[in-house]
Assembly symmetry: D2
Homo-oligomer: 415 residues x 4
């Protein structure tokens, strides 16, 4: 019995999305050498080559090995080798040793990708492919696209011989004004609902009671963050959480990550070298601790994730920041006067990452995807210039440890 026309159309669309997303991962890495794609500059970051392999492993392990009759793995050793943290699948290599994966070579990893892609094409031709798992695999790969970019940025910056292209001086835009948006208190629904894809941690949709609040119309700019720095922000313990102050002292933080001062001017590292800070662009590469301290210094606070979601869903004219599709190296300056939501930088919220009431992790090994990390992390919202536009939505919950700075993470204020 043939698939129904609708199914057929859905599958055809899914096939196109599969091809496009898989191709994008390769495009993001193609200008880097095999040596650069092997760099692991800290245990939290992974080599680009590893990301290319691990995302492929995801399709192979959870779909092809389970659901494609007659499937034979490309290399039986990869099941263990490219497992990130799925304990139910058995052991996996120590995370900090990913930089030692000279084998397989980049060339072999690319062949592995091609092989799995061919088998996935074959699987998409079967009668009832597991659409949900494929969607999960594609969203998983999109997440790793962002990590490819953030991890590469950290690696390039960590190399004893950093890229140092001559960068032309930027033209700086006129500042856009920040406004306070008023939102009424009341009972609101938050979380994902509907048939389109979402991660398990965005569900179930549920009601929350919010007090009235104000939230900023845009992200905090470099100019504003420089004022905090100039006012001794990194030297005043009373502005910081206790753990944050310990991090400032232990790590010697005195600016966002990737910033350096030379000749009296602040510069930041992007993929091809150091360049001038654009005061108008959103501040980026700050930890939760810095976001929190900045908010305290400015007499405001960070929004809770529910406040953020309600405000972002409101029906007023909005614009977006940059997304991955635009291939901008960093967040873009904020112009105009209307609200800006989504894109440019992830925004730290004041909400620790915990389960929504009634949360149930997915069944099977993919249940290890989100739930087991609900501890010691904070929620970020909105996506960044390294996030695919097709990947993000208002209910999306990203999460990182409060000291993490290598993501494209910034600040929005609330009161």
């Amino acid at each position: 019995m043939p698939a129904s026309p609708t199914e057929s159309y859905a599958c055809s669309s899914l096939r196109l999305r599969y091809q496009e997303i898989r191709r994008t991962s390769l495009e993001l890495t193609q200008s880097y050498t095999a040596e650069e794609q092997m760099l692991q500059s800290m245990p939290d970051a992974s080599p680009a080559k590893w990301h290319l392999a691990h995302t492929t492993w995801f399709f192979e392990t959870f779909i092809l090995s389970e659901h494609l009759p007659g499937f034979r793995p490309f290399d039986r050793r990869y099941k263990h080798l490219f497992n990130s943290y799925y304990k139910r699948l058995g052991s996996h290599p120590y995370r900090g040793a990913r930089g030692l994966m000279a084998r397989p070579t980049l060339h072999e990893v690319q062949a592995y990708r091609s092989s799995v892609d061919q088998e996935m094409e074959r699987y998409l031709d079967t009668q009832e492919p597991k659409v949900d798992l494929i969607e999960l695999g594609l969203n998983h790969e999109q997440q790793h696209q962002e990590l490819i970019l953030t991890d590469l940025k950290h690696a390039l910056w960590s190399m004893p011989l950093r890229p140092e292209s001559a960068l032309t001086r930027r033209e700086l835009k006129e500042p856009a004004q920040m406004k306070w948006i008023e939102v009424d208190g009341g009972i609101y629904s938050v979380g994902h609902s509907g048939d389109d894809f979402a991660f398990d941690n965005e569900e179930p949709r549920h009601e929350v009671l919010l007090a009235p609040f104000q939230i900023a119309s845009r992200q905090v700019s470099n100019r504003e963050f420089l004022e905090f720095m100039d006012d001794g922000g990194y030297k005043r313990p009373e502005l910081w959480l206790s753990d944050g102050w310990d991090a400032v002292c232990a790590q010697g933080w005195s600016s966002p990550l990737y910033w350096e001062q030379s000749d009296g001017e602040w510069k930041e590292f992007a993929y091809s070298g150091m360049r001038q800070i654009d005061p108008q662009a959103p501040v980026c590469h700050v930890s939760y601790y810095e976001a929190d301290a900045f908010a305290r210094w400015s007499g405001a606070r960070l929004p809770r994730e529910q406040e953020w979601e309600i405000a972002a869903r409101r029906g007023s004219p909005k614009t977006c920041g940059a997304f991955l599709e635009e291939r901008r190296e960093d967040p873009q300056p904020i112009g105009g006067a209307i609200e800006q939501w989504m894109g440019n930088v992830w925004e730290w919220t004041a909400s620790p990452y915990i389960a929504y009431p009634g949360f149930v992790p997915s069944a099977g090994p993919t249940g290890e995807y989100n739930g087991k990390f609900m501890c010691n992390q904070f929620v970020l919202r909105g996506g960044s210039c390294a996030t695919p536009h097709s990947h993000i939505r208002p209910s999306y919950r990203n999460f990182f440890a409060p000291a993490a700075r290598w993501q494209f993470s910034g600040i929005r204020l609330a009161k």
Copy 2:
């Protein structure tokens, strides 16, 4: 002009409370030698002598030095020496070096206490003593009374020559049944209100929207926790948060802290030596990770702190566990069939420790008391056998890092 009769009465009552609480701290330590009171067995724990001095420093620094005319400090060096973490007062010694405070001697610390107590008596005679600060100081000292007990327990257990008194075999009680209490959903108020003392982190009282839930009538017992252990609880990663599993592996956890197996029987360390586990007593000295894993294993979850507070405040017949006043060495077995709330063991909740909506830290240095720790910790509720009964209340929020096990911390389930 004399104080009004009411004020006079309040002050007289406060004076009695002051005397009683200060005396209790000494009583808790009096059976330990100067050497034992100097032990610091890990950076998180402090010597008993340090607690005796630091609580005294609190009255001296925030009350006498500020508000008592003509006050002269006992020793000018103590201002720095016994500062725990108040950055606004200047520097303080490294926390991990408290075990090196051979000077001042215990005898000198006791003299310091007497001297400050005399000055406090004098201060209580003044016209308008700062009652709020005195209350804060007394509650602060009560918190340290619990820490004196938990830190001493850890120290005694850590000594190469542990106490090993011959302990008589316990009589074990009949088990009490655990029941599920049903609580309706709706809008509830939580947090502290009223004129009696509360910490700033219990306020402001505010409304929350809760879904209907069930909560256990008593704490989880050792017998129940042994079932988890016997079912491979410490060996199954799928039951654990990722950080929790890392802790299990890195620390080699296979039981609660202070448990040891010998001759096929589990024993636990109390102040005077190892003794038989009482299956009927609440399980104690477990981390948040263990509480969370146990809950997952049993098909339930930990309660949120708001659920806990609402349930504990309900108007049904209740009994309490042990408190400090009873001088029991550990949580007591649970008998009878009615609900048990408060006392015995602190109960880990599923709620990260964050600010209530509208939270404002106290002004001045005491503002560092609670707010700056609102990160990377979880809320515990209810008090323990080492908590003064007069210190605890349903709105009380205790907090510790999720890996902490040396407090009297246990588990209550919810669904």
Copy 3:
């Protein structure tokens, strides 16, 4: 004025040696990918690519930059980048970060080598090239050839995906008997003399007074070391130096490095995979601690370096073990009955690495070559299967920290 015929001949010979040694370094690495040549598996080891660059840097820095008129460096940043530890030349990158040198690429490093080689050809044509510095550079490069092999071996073994070629079973030879060689006591001269090249640490030649001693005619075999293991050698603290026993416990040593037991059989890792131990081959990849413990267990001791040198220079028929020129992957089995000296494995001596009486380091930055390491290391003698035959001599003093195991290091006994 043209160079004299002799000089010309010497230069021509030197030119040939230069070409041959430089070519050998490339040959040793040519079967490894750019990714494999970037591996740094521990801070003590360096990537093969780094060795290729650093040996080139040596010629560029100490010869071309100083002595070739009109020389322009290939890349001005390399002066800092490929400095290993010469403080007098300014700063250098942190040693443990050599694995982050994705840039320059292997291709660029090879171009750097070619460029410097061309300039060195030009320099060799000048009137009075500094022959001593060139010799030093060549000997330096030969030392790094050995390190290329030992560091690569450790890297390949450390990869999560190790090489695992199917290895054919070896044919095992008949054992050769070990004999004790008697050497008379008396005053002997040790150290280098003469015009041929030697490192500064081999000089000055000086007299020593030795008591009569016995020394083994060959290196200890795997078979003999297995007897030590079977006799509980790794479990008996009384056989070990205190620091050695600490290393056994902390590192969990229970065999030489690279050994693994499977199916009741000991195997060892070589470059292309695990393979059967040859009981007749010299034991290899043992630390000083293991060598010392083995000697104590066997009722003997390790020779002092002076004893070794006197015995090796004696005029009796001798054979050699394997050297780099033979391109054997590991030490070769010992056959026959005559003495074996030099080659196969470096031999730990009982002598800490210190200055000979009257030692004077070379002038200038090359004075940092040897002298500043005369502390906390032990002398090894004789060269190994990874040492060029043209590089070794009886007065040669190699040195490593007593816990090092990744060199081709073995044992000879004395009494």
Copy 4:
């Protein structure tokens, strides 16, 4: 059969020595509180109370338990508790946890000492007491007397509340001139011989061949070391061994241990507080690395231990520095013009601590006393102001790791 008159006299003399040495240990600690005697300020140092107990354990374990009929131990748990590192006696507590020995109390340790002393008296009355073992125990205790002083000094200095007695200004003496003593080359005998007590590591006496050398007539003074500091000694890597320079950078050394600069003046910590440096006193509390760097800076070198011993034994008029018997807190200024040998500060030699040719450790557990530490340490000679005069001799070999600074260790030059 009664003991012969000679034996009887020897025993009576030994009894007196026993009493005197045991009493001295108590005297050294008597002015410190139980809390101070429990301090362990770093893993290398031990609490004074532990030294008092461990020296007692030595007599109990190696003499009374083995050789006194009917002996019953004071507390059976002490056998394990106060074992320092004798693996052949079974396990022992982790060295870094000695500061957690609140139990037994100081009072109990003193009772332990009395009890063992009484039993030793009884043992001395037996027919043929093991004189050699008693001598070993007494020399062991004398070594620990020095450690009591050096460990207490480090502990007092490490306390957050250091002693800070008002110290009177010293009168500074006139400088004594340093002379170079010429010693001929030739064959010399070194090491201990004769019937009086010596440690096994001082034997066997053996011949060495020495080249002619010059050695300084006295120890390097603070004034001379200040010149080294003023000349950038701590900032010039070319003066240092590689490991030494790493220590300078990692530990931030810029002066000897215990020195601090205030108001432009260098002061040093002694037991009761900071006080002015005496330029004329020998420099003290320097590591081997600092001694070696100073020697290189001054165009000289450190003496080898054989050179030191030969020079110290020469028959010329000599004077000594301070010893323990004088109860001086630190090395004394050097006056006069004749040679000074022995006392004041231990002198680092250029000799790694290794076995003399023919060395055989003592049989039994006491064989772990010296031999197993013959690795990674350097020999010091001559004794210090904390060494009993009756304990030291020219053949005495003390040894410490090259980074150690908390001993009374100084410098003598050679050429």
